[in-house]
């Protein structure tokens, strides 16, 4: 089975979703990511979904779950590069991903992660 690669970049993990997500792939990613966060002691997770064209409620919930799990493991999740159509779909589905931080592109996402991991006060919000 295909797996989505998770790259380590400093004290952050970088996940780039380049293929259409099916449910199994999503659950596998959630599991792998959780393990890697613990393994490397990551402080931030950056998920790039700029290539993702189709989302459903499951995918939305998975993003929320990853954010929640990361928060417990003391890592900040940033989702970057969401397409307009995807954003509209998620809002229409009623998933506003309140626990997830967002940024326009990977660069700004990394900057956001850097800010968040440097100041420990921000981790609690």
């Amino acid at each position: 089975m295909d797996r989505i690669p998770i790259l380590k970049l400093g004290d952050a993990l970088l996940v780039t979703i380049q293929v259409d997500m099916h449910d199994q792939l999503a659950t596998a990613l959630e599991e792998d990511l959780t393990n890697r966060i613990v393994q490397v002691g990551a402080r931030g997770v950056l998920i790039d979904i700029s290539a993702l064209e189709i989302v459903d409620s499951f995918m939305g919930r998975m993003l929320d779950n990853i954010a929640a799990v990361s928060r417990i493991l003391d890592a900040v999740t940033v989702v970057v590069g969401m397409r307009p159509a995807v954003a509209i779909t998620l809002v229409e589905l009623g998933l506003s991903l309140a626990g997830v931080k967002t940024a326009l592109d990977v660069e700004r996402g990394m900057a956001l992660l850097g800010r968040n991991t440097r100041t420990t006060e921000d981790d609690g919000d």
């Binding site: 989702v79 970057v80 590069g81 969401m82 397409r83 307009p84 995807v86 954003a87 509209i88 998620l90 809002v91 229409e92 506003s96 991903l97 967002t102 940024a103 326009l104 592109d105 700004r108 996402g109």
Partner: protein
């Protein structure tokens, strides 16, 4: 019986075409169908002539069913004429006159030239009457359809016109909303805002609702949806331009906007600049640099 009526009408049209055409045009003119030259005389004449020809062939070949295949040519012509009338701004009455003023010349012609049996004349009268009525109805339908298309197109244009996304600064967008926000407009607004966020790489968007006349729970929900979608893409939104009455109404309704809101667009812009680490300051202009050297 209907066949006889049709046959008589067909012959009538064939033999006295120019005569009918002349009288018809006369009638159209006296009723003001050319509308102070909005349609050139020659064009009106050409339209009438073509219509008579089409009608003749249709009657000769087909039955009385105006919606049948035999009348396809007539219908196309009428649809063209009435839609062009509709776009030229003719009233429904003026458009309908095109068909209904043909009735009288046909009846007259029947009276004058038909050395026919009374019964046959009656039958032909009946056939012509029926035919003209249904063609008239068809004309009105086509007219109405064109008008409706026009209205729909205008609505779309208004929707697009009233939702411009303005770049205030690098990475700061403004969206001045004007008019009531319904779900359809929210969709347009949302799409254009999100597209602009992507294309300009903007991290801040100011939604100005000075031009929104009323804010009820539904409008607020639409606004929140737009803001949520922008946030998902990584852009922050500020709402500005909430008028005093609207602020009161919103509080009374229990509507809560869980975003930064400012009274004016200027305030919101200042906040957006501050978040980018920018500030606006006044510079002292030296007299020598002002361009007008003083003596």
């Amino acid at each position: 019986m209907a066949a006889i009526g049709r046959q008589v009408t067909s012959t009538l049209l064939e033999r006295h075409e120019s005569e009918i055409l002349g009288e018809w045009l006369q009638r159209l003119r006296s009723e003001g169908a050319s509308q102070n030259g909005r349609i050139p005389e020659s064009e009106l004449k050409a339209q009438c002539k073509e219509f008579l020809q089409q009608l003749r062939t249709a009657i000769a070949t087909g039955d009385n069913d105006v919606n049948g295949p035999a009348y396809a040519g007539v219908r196309d012509l009428l649809a063209n004429i009435s839609s062009s009338r509709a776009t030229q701004g003719f009233s429904p009455r003026e458009t309908a006159l095109f068909i209904f003023s043909l009735k009288q010349p046909l009846f007259d012609m029947l009276q004058r030239h038909g050395k026919l049996d009374e019964k046959v004349v009656l039958e032909a009268n009946w056939t012509i009457g029926l035919l003209m009525d249904s063609l008239g109805l068809f004309t009105m339908e086509a007219f109405q359809k064109t008008r409706e298309e026009l209205i729909v197109r205008q609505q779309q244009e208004i929707a697009e016109l009233s939702t411009p996304v303005i770049k205030l600064w690098d990475g700061i967008l403004a969206l001045p909303l004007i008019g009531t926000l319904d779900s359809q407009r929210t969709q347009v607004v949302m799409e254009s805002l999100l597209e602009s966020i992507v294309s300009q790489g903007a991290a801040m968007a100011i939604i100005d609702i000075t031009g929104v006349p009323t804010v009820d729970t539904l409008t607020a929900q639409h606004l929140l949806k737009t803001i949520a979608a922008a946030r998902l893409m990584g852009a922050d939104c500020i709402i500005s331009g909430i008028r005093p009455q609207i602020a009161q109404t919103m509080v009374h309704l229990g509507v809560e906007l869980t975003v930064v809101s400012k009274a004016t667009l200027a305030d919101a812009f200042a906040v957006a600049l501050a978040r980018q680490g920018r500030t606006v300051s006044k510079i002292k202009v030296q007299p020598a640099q002002a361009g007008m050297p003083r003596d």
